[in-house]
Symmetry: C2
Amino acid sequence: MPRTGLTAAEIKKKAIDATVAAMREEGFDKVRLTDVAKQLGVSHAALYLHFKDKTALLDAVSERWLVEIDESLDAICRKQGKEPTEKMLAWMLTLHRAKRAKVLHDPELYKSFDLLANAQKPYVQQHMSTLMAQLVGLVREAIAARRLRGADPDKMAEILWEGMMAFHHPKLVAQHLDEKREPLLRLVLESMLKGLALKTD
Amino acid sequence: MPRTGLTAAEIKKKAIDATVAAMREEGFDKVRLTDVAKQLGVSHAALYLHFKDKTALLDAVSERWLVEIDESLDAICRKQGKEPTEKMLAWMLTLHRAKRAKVLHDPELYKSFDLLANAQKPYVQQHMSTLMAQLVGLVREAIAARRLRGADPDKMAEILWEGMMAFHHPKLVAQHLDEKREPLLRLVLESMLKGLALKTD
DNA sequence: TAAGTTACAAACTATGGTTGTTGTAAGTTA
DNA sequence: TAACTTACAACAACCATAGTTTGTAACTTA
């Protein structure tokens, strides 16, 4: 019965695509639902069948990106036969690069993400707990491989997370765009890993 | 010949005091030079004899606070006969608490400071290099006391600084006001110190 | 009945004129 | 002549209102 001939999932995807295009074009705080709808060839009211309100549509853009990050990090976690601490470095580097790349060549999208950083949106929470679960997993592996020592992997992951904040937090990533921070990232991570390789409980 | 009967330094200090009061009262972005001048019993134009422009006056407020921090941290560095790593913990805790206290009970002043965080004002640069010099000093002491090992104290201080960013950066401090972060701060610092106690060059 | 429309009210934003603030130049006083 | 004032121009904040955009309800179609 849809006159567009598309399923709900398809039109949702297209709506998000059009929103991304509008953000890039006009800036994220100047996106108009009426323009997005025009792109899809429907009336603006039709968008409300798929998204609760404008915020939900904008959120969907960030959510898509966060899920992409989750997945590329998950791919690293799943890799077999690699040193757990090397995987952890790869994980941290990938996260750092993802944020850096975003702010560099998609600043308008990054802005919307940046504003979200302190927001208590459920999908941001979800993203955070996915990341923490992955990191805890890597810590457990490292403990199993005798590369780390300690009784509380959750706490160890939290320590690593906080210590690496300088390389992940939106504001801080944006602040150091012109510098090559990867060698420093490596050094910070290595010093923490060495410390956590001794007894830490 | 001054009709106020005050020296330049005195009136400068009073102007900063009045600006602080105005910020607390009205919010930092609503400070009016005319009100500040009224407090001092002079015309607003008189302020231009002591401050280049409004920005310079607002900056003076932040600068005063940054210098206070520099001094209280310096007091820690100067303390004799204490373990260097304990001093470093005290230093990090004091910096963390200073920022936390500011945002808690002087949010309007903190806001102005927060905006400055990425700004390239010379007195902010000055503050940063003072802090780094202090931290390098603590690292050198710790190396001398065989608590740390490594050939490059500057790099080690940088590592420690970046690793502790989560507890010092204005945005991050403001984001975790409701939590007790000191135990975590301690754990992050300890793990880095342990790592840096092994060979790191 | 899910996917859409049109039509309309409420909320927001852009505009332009008015008022208030900032910054400067020329003048005043101890 | 340093510390200040008054007077004024340039600029920014404020406020009313006209114009858009957002969100909803009642209606249409495959």
